[in-house]
């Protein structure tokens, strides 16, 4: 009997690496070379604090010239009109430049004070839809809440935030306490309609967007599984959204719920909603006619079509950083766990892009963004409970994972998900619910070493 503990210990040790024994862990990652070039031929090999703000390495001279012009536009700060340089800010706004919400073309951190100017804001709408099936604007507030205004105007709102603790338990006994943010508004310039819904958003990275735009519709729709006919409990739905350019509905690709059909519409929308700048695509101010806003009658657009074109090409042609450390045994194990946990069901590793007219650099590229660009129910704890076109209140679009491991080096933080609530990559995994619940539970069952390996894989791609 005295010996029993010895054998138990023995058994425990054998079990501790059981994953290695049970499955065939490859000695290296398949398609390693292709995965290294995450952004195809746009890929830049740069493991630096400047890894996100480089032009695609295969850009032709004509595209590069527009990219560089767009680079300058991306950094411009806007000011109250009239002004010689960059007039037109506001009257209501969240921030004053593109770069301030997408620092170094990367990811905005969660703000220490929810009302400092940051990459964070709340979208809003009331039940029902607008004329095109999109969110129904909240009367007096529109589709986005601006918590800043030019001098002399009262901001629409100030944001409030409180937290609720959500403990998560690992099989090995470890506990992590997630902080669930609960948002609200205060100091509203007029009373907020009681049926107003809010959806928190934070500025995501902007590299590789042209490659995502170049993924063909056929490719995206191939993975759609609205009724879960393959019974893997993962459905996948493409959003169909209004495109103000073609004045038709298109597949939604950008924004946290896939609410914008193109880089162009997303960018013009950001000028409009985040900075209060009109453009040919959005000729009326977001706050037009509000007592704290801008006049109903608008003068010429504050952002010209030429600038929109430059910004579009800039965001389409930022290089994707290369994957790193793919030979590291922990990364190889993590690769296998990423597959075994079925993360790949939504974080589709590979796509081959179609053709974006006029930009050969991003056309016909084999890329590894790790996203299906589809909507998935992510569970009640992540839900914003605010629909956006076909996306319901529980659904979010799968995010690309390429370059995510460089966030701390470039942006000095590890805040992830649609509002930056996850304080590191592990918390981001733990927040996954709904269709991703099984994968999250798989992660909860892993031992410490395996969890570290999965995180090492995420950090490497």
């Amino acid at each position: 009997m005295k010996k029993t503990p010895l054998f138990i210990l023995l058994a425990l040790f054998i079990c501790s690496c059981s994953k290695d024994d049970a499955n065939d862990i490859p000695t290296s990652i398949p398609d390693k070379e292709a995965r290294l070039y995450a952004g195809g031929k746009t890929t830049i090999f740069a493991n630096t604090s400047f890894s996100f703000d480089n032009p695609a390495t295969n850009l032709n001279a004509a595209n590069l010239a527009i990219h560089l012009a767009g680079d300058m536009q991306f950094e411009q700060a806007f000011v109250t009109a009239p002004a010689v340089i960059n007039p037109g800010l506001g009257a209501q706004f969240n921030n004053t430049s593109c770069i301030s919400c997408h620092p170094k073309d990367g990811r905005a951190g969660f703000p220490n004070d929810i009302n400092t100017r940051s990459g964070f804001f709340l979208r809003t709408s009331i039940p029902g839809t607008d004329a095109h099936g999109g969110p129904n604007p909240t009367p007096g507030f529109g589709g986005q809440l601006q918590n800043h205004a030019i001098y002399g105007k009262q901001a629409e709102v100030k944001f409030t935030i409180t937290y609720q603790d959500l403990p998560v338990h690992f099989k090995d006994g470890t506990t992590v306490i997630l902080k669930k943010p609960i948002y609200g508004v205060t100091d509203t310039y007029i009373p907020m309609p009681s049926n107003a819904m809010f959806s928190p958003r934070i500025g995501p990275p902007v590299y590789g967007l042209g490659l995502l735009e170049a993924i063909t519709e056929a490719d995206l729709l191939k993975k759609e599984d609205l009724l879960d006919s393959d019974e893997d409990e993962i459905s996948g739905k493409a959003n169909r959204v209004w495109d103000p350019v073609s004045k038709t509905h298109k597949i939604g690709r950008f924004g946290w719920k896939g609410g914008a059909p193109s880089v162009m519409v997303q960018s013009a929308g950001a000028y409009h909603g985040d900075m209060g700048l009109t453009s040919p695509l959005f000729p009326n101010e977001a706050d037009a006619g509000q007592t704290n806003g801008s006049p109903l009658e608008q003068a010429a657009p504050e952002i010209s079509q030429e600038i929109l074109d430059q910004i579009e090409v800039y965001c389409q042609t930022l290089a994707v950083p290369a994957a790193r450390n793919l030979d590291d045994p922990a990364v190889v194990l993590g690769f296998q766990l990423f597959e075994d946990a079925n993360c790949i069901a939504c974080h589709t590793p590979k796509h081959i892009t179609g053709v974006i007219k006029g930009i050969p650099a991003i056309s016909n590229q084999t890329i590894y963004p790790y996203t299906d660009l589809l909507l998935h129910d992510m569970g009640d704890d992540l839900a914003d409970n605010r629909p956006e076109f076909l996306a319901d209140g529980n659904e979010w679009q799968t995010r690309p994972l390429w370059g995510i491991g460089l966030t701390n080096l470039v942006n000095g933080h590890t805040n992830f998900l649609h509002d930056g609530r996850a304080r590191n990559l592990e918390e981001a995994i733990l927040w996954h619910g709904g269709e991703a619940k099984k994968s999250q539970e798989y992660y909860l069952d892993l031992n410490k070493k395996e969890r570290a390996a999965l995180l090492a894989f995420l950090a490497a791609i």
Partner: protein, 355 residues
Amino acid sequence: MKNYNSLAKIAFLTVLSIQLISCEDDDPTPVVAEISYSEHLKNITDNVIVETYTDLANKAGILLNEVTDFKANRTVSNYDEAKQAWRDSRAPWEQSEGFLFGPVDTDGVDPAIDAWPVNEVDLNNVLASSDVLNESYIESAIDEIKGFHTIEYLLWSVDGNKQLEDFTDREFDYLIAATENLKNRTQQLADAWTSSYANILKTAGNNSVFVSQKSALETLVAGLIAIADEVGTGKIEDPLNGNSGSADQTKEESRFSHNSKTDFSNNIKSISNIYNGTYFVDGKGLSDIIKVDNSDLDAEFNQALIDAIQAIDNIPGTFTTAIVSNRAQVTNAQNKVLAVLDLLESQIAPVIKKI
């Protein structure tokens, strides 16, 4: 039983050690001895970057003293001293623009102290209001009515010809509040480095931010490339050719004070400081790595830096007038800066990449 017991122990220990090995194997510990760049990183961090930021915070403090004196005694000499103190504090800031990574970027310090253009409408509306003007008011205001260029606007005005009698009491209050904010933010920046980030850069390879010394060194080079690019293709190019190939004076950054030439040459000095490991004292820099590989390249690059600074200094008069009247000299200076950029991109960076 005894034998069995020891046999089991041996078996246990054997399995244990195999087990430990098989698990430990996965740790990415480098076994090959690599060349250490600790000395280079330490000197660049402590004697260049931290010294530059400390100097900046000190000079912002002097500027606060000078504008406070100026408010108390509104004399021409105090006015001149205030303007000179602005120029003096501007120098370390421009000499820091070769390393715009870390807290200056991630803590939002850059836009808060160097926002451009000034939101003149809002600033004038604040001045015309009865809002209480103090440091916390400035801190909570938008970036475009704080920092160096707002202070510059208050000291010089748009045309650069502000006179002593033009100053209002409200402008003095704003000037002091904005300068106090500048001092605080520059001090926070210096503190962020001394308390934490300096150590992260120096211990590159042993922390989760910089996974290797190479990553840190490549970041330093990327910072130099970014500022050479900014000066060559932005700060000089936009005012020089920004109006469809002819000059657009409104796009000049430090146009109120006519300090642009000094700004540009300090930007190039920033490159030289990191490259040569020098601020107040000389130590190991990137130069010491390049030299080992290619001493000719090291000499060529240092000469390119000297040429660029000289060409900028040789632009006649102010940059504002030169982009109209002396375009050839401005273009020459621009080309010299672009030569620095080209050497960084095509020759310096590849050497660091292969270490």
